[in-house]
């Protein structure tokens, strides 16, 4: 079974150090990983454990201090703007805060048109573009007719995050990196967002990397879980193994921190 899986994105000794001299901060400390095609991976850790830094390195938004990232078995090459563009056709992201993810001066249409252009559809007719945007919006249960010519800040947080998923629907990347996509959304919209994400994965079969602090969510959605503490992967493996039989004290603590109804919340570990 394992031999059939092809690694889609892997890292060896990936390190990121911020600052110099005494102010050096080791954000990500020599992590190794293999994310396989079609898998749902979760990277779980508390705030400041280096999850977002790792995500930005994987996206190529910040440089790596050490180590290398392989994409589809070959070392990743994003040295020029052109190669970056090619890379970003394959890997896309959903950010944590939908309110700051949009340029407030651009209309919603331009966000979606950018995606069509990114897929090489810049020369399509206007009708075709509208049709594609309408399809993408209806996938996440939004009405394009109501959104066109509006500005992102006129939408609710949930709507904005759904629009982000519509964006991914248009782009159809090989890998989706979702950096705490639900943490800024209220609990009732959270499930909807997750459902759309899972539905999208079902349709496109893309590798999905969830970055979250919520170990319960990780258990609910993922095949593989990586537990991150202070820039290191302390534990990893299939979700069932890691979460049902945690070996590391940190994992146990994360599990204890999940609030449960009808049970007294253990605050001693905080």
């Amino acid at each position: 079974m394992a031999s059939e899986k092809k690694p889609c994105l892997s890292g060896r000794g990936l390190t990121k150090i911020f600052g110099l001299g005494n102010q050096k901060t080791l954000a990500v400390d020599h992590v190794d990983f293999d994310f396989y095609e079609g898998e749902i991976v979760s990277i779980v850790g508390e705030s400041g454990s280096g999850k977002t830094t790792l995500a930005k390195m994987l996206l190529g938004l910040i440089s790596t201090t050490e180590g290398e990232v392989s994409f589809l078995g070959k070392p990743r090459d994003i040295r020029s703007q052109k190669k970056k563009r090619e890379y970003w056709q394959n890997i896309q992201a959903i950010f944590q805060d939908p309110f700051s993810s949009y340029n407030i001066f651009n209309k919603i249409d331009s966000v979606l048109l950018d995606c069509i252009r990114m897929r090489g559809g810049a020369n399509l007719s206007k009708e075709k573009k509208v049709e594609m945007m309408t399809e993408a919006c209806s996938f996440v249960n939004l009405k394009f007719e109501e959104l066109t010519n509006k500005y992102p800040f006129e939408l609710s947080g949930g709507q904005m995050q759904r629009l982000m998923i519509a964006r991914i629907f248009l782009l159809k990347p090989k890998i989706l990196l979702a950096d705490e996509p639900t943490s800024m959304i209220d609990a009732s919209s959270r499930a909807t967002i997750l459902d759309y994400l899972l539905k999208l994965r079902e349709e496109t079969g893309m590798t999905t990397i969830f970055i979250t602090h919520d170990i319960g969510l990780a258990y609910y959605v993922s095949d593989t879980v990586y537990i991150m503490e202070k820039g290191l992967f302390v534990e990893s493996g299939p979700a069932e193994d890691v979460i049902l039989n945690p070996r590391q004290p940190y994992t146990k603590r994360l599990l204890n921190d999940v609030p449960k109804i009808y049970e007294e919340w253990d605050l001693s570990t905080v």
Binding site: K56, L59, L61, Q81, K84, R85, W88, Q89, Q92, A93, F95, Q96, D97, S100, S101, Y102, N103, I104, F105, N106, V111, D114, C115, R117, M118
Partner: protein, 416 residues
């Protein structure tokens, strides 16, 4: 955009500043339509004529006369001729001649003159009086003597054939002309300056040139600061280090010293208003560059910039579409401040004699310099420099007010 303009014009401070600035601008634009004189035309023979209405004496003689019998006319005439010093001198003579000081009332002109005429004797020697004093009193006596009489003044012309003076009319003390009927009346609301030029016309032209200098200097400084700030803040790394090195060099050297040195080395001949504006612009971009850079650094890691990168946009597109609009309000405010400090810098340079060398257009700084060189402030000729100071103050005040107003609109934390 519409909403933003609305909220800007709801800010009282901005509106007040804008109103003052618009009034100045309107004055500058409209005044030359009514007074199309060249601003540096020398109209007065002599220096520092007081503000007022100047009526042609020659034309008043040929204007139709009207007789007005006014009671206070002669008193007023005498009062204006008989200065406070003369009165004190008269009192001194009278006291010297033996009149008790209690009987002399300086304010009562008629009584004073009566006492003078009944007692004055040019041959009488008063104790302690020099010869010069004696001559002064003789002059004073002749000047005052004519004042009480009501006989007219003759107007005579030279007959070109015979060379004899022929009387062609008399002007009585009760004759008046209507100013409207005099052919030549010139109002000089701010008098004339040391060269004999109309100060108001000059001031309007100077304000116009100074605003242009401020605008050019402000645009140059803001553009340089903006471009360097954007590039160094967004690209970072070595580019950032290099640009910041240059910026820090400029910060350490006081820009006014730099300004003086450059102005001096350019030379007198090449220093026109536009050149001075360029020099000011090229020395005052430093703080704009630093401020823009720090704002860009905080913006470049925002998610919307990351999203734009992921959408495959180029660096130029990201800087123009995702960074610039976010700092646009700051840039507008910086531009306003740069314009006002450009006007101040020009004034400072000109006072030192390093301002634009020009013979056809004045600037506010040059007017200050001329007033200073000709000692208007020592001679008490306030109209030569005070209106200039007020204009400079009003321009900078209105611009700073607009800036504060904008700051409050764009930065809600500052709202009251």
């Amino acid at each position: 955009m519409k909403h933003m303009l609305k909220s800007i014009f709801r800010s009282g401070k901005f509106v007040a500043g804008f109103a003052i600035f618009a009034a100045i601008l309107l004055g500058v634009l409209i005044y030359p339509i009514f007074v199309p004189d060249p601003p540096l035309k020398i109209i007065a023979q002599g220096t520092f004529f007081e503000p007022g209405i100047y009526v042609s004496v020659y034309d008043s003689l040929s204007a139709p006369t009207h007789i007005l019998n006014l009671d206070e006319a002669s008193t007023k005439r005498i009062t204006s001729k008989l200065s406070e010093d003369d009165r004190v001198a008269i009192q001194k003579w009278l006291v010297g001649a033996g009149i008790p000081e209690a009987e002399i009332d300086l304010a009562n002109t008629e009584q004073l003159l009566e006492q003078w005429f009944s007692n004055y004797d040019s041959t009488k020697r008063v104790a302690g009086m020099t010869n010069a004093d004696r001559n002064y009193y003789i002059r004073l006596n002749t000047a005052v003597t004519g004042l009480l009489g009501d006989e007219g003044v003759s107007i005579a012309v030279v007959n070109p054939d015979t060379g004899v003076l022929e009387e062609i009319g008399t002007v009585l003390a009760t004759d008046y002309v209507n100013v409207g009927e005099v052919a030549n009346v010139r109002v000089l609301p701010l008098g004339t300056d040391n060269f004999g030029r109309d100060v108001l016309t000059e001031l309007v032209a100077a304000t116009r040139v100074s605003l242009q200098i401020g605008l050019v200097a402000g645009i140059i400084a803001t553009l340089i600061g903006l471009i360097l700030g954007l590039v160094s803040g967004y690209i970072g790394g070595f580019v950032d280090d290099a640009i910041m090195f240059i910026t820090n060099l400029f910060t350490v050297i006081p820009s006014f010293v730099l300004l003086i040195l450059i102005s001096f080395s350019i030379g007198q001949d090449k220093r026109g208003p536009f050149m001075v504006a360029m020099v000011i612009g090229f020395t005052s971009w430093v703080w704009t560059a630093r401020a823009v850079r720090s704002q860009v650094i905080s913006l470049r890691n925002r998610d919307h910039v990351n999203l734009s990168k992921l959408s495959g946009h180029s660096i130029t597109h990201i800087i123009l579409a995702d960074i610039l609009p976010y700092i646009a309000s700051y840039v507008v405010m910086a531009l306003i401040l740069q314009i006002s400090s450009g006007i101040l810098a020009e004034a400072g340079l000109s006072i030192l004699g390093l301002g634009p060398r020009t013979t056809d257009m004045p600037t506010l700084g040059l007017m200050m310099q001329w007033a200073m060189i000709y000692q208007a402030h020592i001679l008490g000729k306030w109209w030569a420099y005070f209106p200039v100071i007020i204009t400079i103050a009003m321009i900078t005040f209105s611009m700073n007010l607009m800036n504060t107003g904008l700051d409050q609109v764009f930065n809600p934390a500052l709202r009251e």
